[in-house]
Symmetry: C2
């Protein structure tokens, strides 16, 4: 490919890329099989290719491996999920109770991803009026990781039903680190082009992108 | 491809995907040529394939087309950029002053992307303890849009050096909308695999992903 031209991507590649995006799911049902460590590390390395505000690279990854750290994370999720359930009533409460919202009991790899809000890398460029840009940079990195995993046949599940302050204590992270998410990784029980929340009738997709003009 | 197997992506596709991520840049130098509307809309449509917390799809797009709206956005950036420059001293101040941090004078397409923090879609699932998940969903969508643009030979520049409150007034958006970013889109003056901030010596990339284990 000629970098100066930028035209080296083909229609076939663009179709495959769109298909990859269509097949990227938030996975909550994992096989317990160990995953290929080399493939996992290749995907983690994609994080470095993400955009970051001022080149601050504020992403920080914690591999959660010990039984005690995993048990604390699971307890955290279960408490937050019970609280969330208590906030629904009627049909919505029944549906919520039936949902499987994390694969933490089965996923062979689990990581917490943080943003270092206190990093001096990048000297604050681009983050003066919108300091949340550092966190957005970490989300950008997570998307590259996620697409890379799916291209390897691996699934990722993003768990946000958590008390972040409790997780920070359990994982003993520096005070300026902000939790972006807790992630389960492994081979999915099955692949699909339809989000599980849509399959079970929790919510439908809109089908269009809302665009206005000024 | 057999969706049940999920193994349909080839080594060649994974190499092209990594190359796409390597060549995705934050672009500030655009040709003024109009871009292909169909390609632009195909990329905007990729937003629908993004993950969103609880299937809330909180992304809202405003195409900034009028001279008055563009002039207001440019004025906003220039004021915020002058304020930011005043925060640096010495060599860093000199380097900052020499940076080109937005392509707003040239980019043929410009959009503001918002998060509707007040949306009822998704019924709040996954966002009780971490309401910022809605904003992260919008960032996830922006990444799919960005990769899609680059695969079409188009560049995107993310402008965050802005007063969000002023932009909300200028674009007259609902009060519960949160600005995620202002984006320039067009054909880049040139393609590169190296971030411009690295090329000009503002900051270097670390070269590894910081990973700890618990």
């Amino acid at each position: 490919m000629d970098l100066r031209e930028g035209t080296g991507f083909t229609d076939d590649f663009r179709r495959q890329l769109e298909l990859l995006m269509q097949l990227r799911r938030d996975v909550r049902r994992f096989k317990r099989d160990a995953i290929d460590e080399a493939a996992f590390m290749r995907c983690l390395d994609l994080i470095q290719l993400a955009p970051s505000v001022g080149l601050s690279e504020p992403w920080r990854v914690i591999r959660v491996k010990s039984d005690s750290a995993r048990a604390a994370a699971l307890k955290n999720f279960e408490a937050a999920n019970a609280d969330a359930l208590a906030g629904y009533s009627g049909d919505k409460s029944e549906t919520y109770a039936s949902l499987k919202l994390s694969g933490m009991r089965d996923a062979p790899e689990q990581i917490a991803i943080y943003c270092d809000d206190g990093t001096e890398q990048g000297s604050g460029l681009g983050a003066a009026t919108m300091p949340e840009m550092r966190r957005y940079s970490v989300v950008a990195a997570i998307m590259l990781f996620w697409l890379g995993l799916r291209a390897e046949g691996l699934g990722l599940g993003w768990v946000s039903i958590l008390d972040p302050a409790q997780m920070n204590r359990d994982l003993d992270v520096p005070p300026q680190w902000k939790l972006i998410g807790y992630f389960c990784v492994g081979y999915p029980e099955r692949y699909s082009d339809t989000p599980e929340l849509q399959q079970v009738g929790w919510e439908d997709r809109r089908g269009t992108v809302p665009v206005e003009t000024r």
